[in-house]
């Protein structure tokens, strides 16, 4: 049984239809990479999974819970689904440690000591345990994004969503973030990643999804889609990305 199941999902922003009848299943432990031109609806798609955006048509079931506006269901889903943003969205007034401990303390009800221990564990995992007492502003972009990943991990989610996690980074910092993500993938975390990093996609993805104009145009294993793209739109997109 898939851990995420989207059936005929549509999403509108006013008159603009951001998602058109999208269906997608993700199995536990699967790594899915979503790519596509800007405005194709890929961010909207993953933002619907933890209901940062509410879909208007269709059904989304995450880990057995159907997405509705019921606060109890939302809380359950959101504590099971972590999200990493393009702009990191760390809390600037809190130290790295406090950024990490806030959720575990307030949502999961951990004691101070437990939350700190957990935070240190995940900071070590993203390889910046020495930055625990600093503030986000004192860190490089790559470090900030790794803190954001650790913040999500502290909730011990079953699924992690990544919304263009390396797009706001300087080129020399992309690798350190991708390394952390690769390590996460090899540990069996269910991941849905919106990214243009095709090397990462090839290495890590079980499945590639290509979106254009709110629709899923092409999907399959990276091997299949890269070597023999079925749609012309995807072939053109790949050419543009790889030849820039």
């Amino acid at each position: 049984m898939p851990i995420i199941s989207m059936r005929n999902v549509s999403k509108f922003f006013g008159d603009f239809q951001a998602l058109k009848n999208v269906s997608l299943d993700v199995a536990l432990g699967e790594r899915v990479v979503i790519c596509g031109p800007s405005g194709s609806g890929k961010s909207t798609l993953i933002r619907c999974i933890n209901r940062l955006e509410a879909h208007e048509v269709g059904h989304i079931v995450v880990d057995g819970t159907t997405l509705t506006n019921k606060p109890a269901d939302l809380e359950k889903i959101r504590s099971n689904v972590g999200m990493v943003f393009q702009q990191f969205n760390l809390f600037p007034h809190l130290s790295v440690m406090d950024n990490l401990c806030l959720g575990p303390r307030r949502v999961l009800g951990l004691t101070d000591q437990e939350a700190r221990a957990r935070a240190m564990k995940h900071l070590e995992r993203v390889q910046i345990p020495d930055q625990a007492e600093k503030f986000p502003r004192q860190l490089s972009g790559g470090q900030q994004q790794r803190v954001a990943i650790a913040r999500s991990l502290c909730m011990e989610p079953r699924i992690l969503l990544f919304d263009e996690p390396t797009s706001a980074l300087d080129p020399e910092m992309i690798a350190e973030v991708l390394d952390v993500m690769t390590e996460l993938a090899s540990s069996g975390m269910t991941m849905i990643v919106v990214t243009h990093e095709m090397g990462f996609a090839r290495r890590v993805a079980d499945r590639m999804v290509f979106m254009d104009k709110g629709e899923i145009v092409e999907f399959g294993t990276p091997e299949d889609v890269f070597t023999a793209p079925k749609s012309k739109r995807f072939a053109t997109f790949i050419k543009q990305i790889l030849n820039h």
């Binding site: 809380e75 969205n89 007034h93 806030l102 959720g103 954001a148």
Partner: protein
């Protein structure tokens, strides 16, 4: 700052030489002058007490009025707009008179002068506080809410731990402004007989008949109070900013 004080006192001394000034009423080297000064300064207790109590009340009320203003529901926003528009269009002096003389007739509750003053000042200021808080909260980027939602924080915790701490840092200069404004507006409570700085000065003028000198001292009293408050707010700003840069 220091230079400003030297300049101001030099100006006063110089003008003191003119025949129109009678500094003896407030001359600290003379017994009567010293007693007059003590009498005037004793009002500071009420000016400060009233202003600080009122600002504390108005910050809380302002925040409680600001939050519905951010709601997606129209009804809540209407409540916010109505409160702000009505309360901020009443002149402070009118509100003081209304609370002191009108409210007892309306509700049967009689407030003493101090609490009537606090209530009127706080009420009047709360509409401005509400707008300041609303602006501050709205200036926090959507990403902060989304990050809080993605770790499943509820609305209350999001506000308490993520949004308000950041918003308050940003509105601190405006809050400082309101405190200064409050200190000055508290002089109006003298009309209902509150023994604060302005009232004390008025009483002394009636007995000594030296308005120029006495009101000049009054001006200086407010100046000193407000400079102290401003310095305090600035220090707080620096401390909060230092903690996250």
């Amino acid at each position: 700052m220091k230079r400003f004080f030297i300049f101001a006192s030099a100006l006063l001394l110089l003008s003191g030489c003119s025949a129109n000034w009678g500094w003896y009423v407030v001359d600290p080297t003379m017994t009567s002058g010293w007693n007059n000064l003590k009498f005037m300064a004793s009002g500071a207790y009420y000016t400060l007490g009233m202003s600080i109590t009122a600002i504390l009340v108005s910050v809380v009320v302002g925040l409680l009025v600001a939050i519905p203003g951010l709601s997606e529901k129209r009804g809540w926003r209407m409540f916010n707009r109505t409160y702000v528009e009505i309360v901020r269009s009443v002149p402070v002096l009118v509100l003081i008179l209304w609370v002191y003389y009108g409210l007892p007739a309306l509700s049967g509750i009689t407030l003493n002068v101090f609490w009537a003053g606090v209530l009127a000042l706080a009420l009047s200021d709360s509409a401005f506080q509400a707008e300041i808080f609303r602006a501050g909260i709205q200036s926090i980027s959507r990403g902060q809410y989304e990050a809080a939602q993605s770790i499943s924080l509820n609305y209350r915790d999001t506000m308490r731990f993520v949004i308000l701490p950041q918003a308050i840092r940003r509105i601190l200069p405006a809050l400082g402004n309101q405190l200064v404004y409050m200190l000055k507006m508290s002089s109006l409570v003298s009309v209902i007989g509150m023994q604060e700085l302005t009232r004390k000065a008025n009483e002394l003028v009636v007995s000594e008949y030296r308005p120029l000198e006495i009101y000049t001292v009054l001006v200086l009293e407010y100046l000193v109070l407000i400079l102290i408050v401003s310095a305090g707010v600035r220090r707080l700003e620096r401390r909060l900013n230092a903690s996250d840069t």
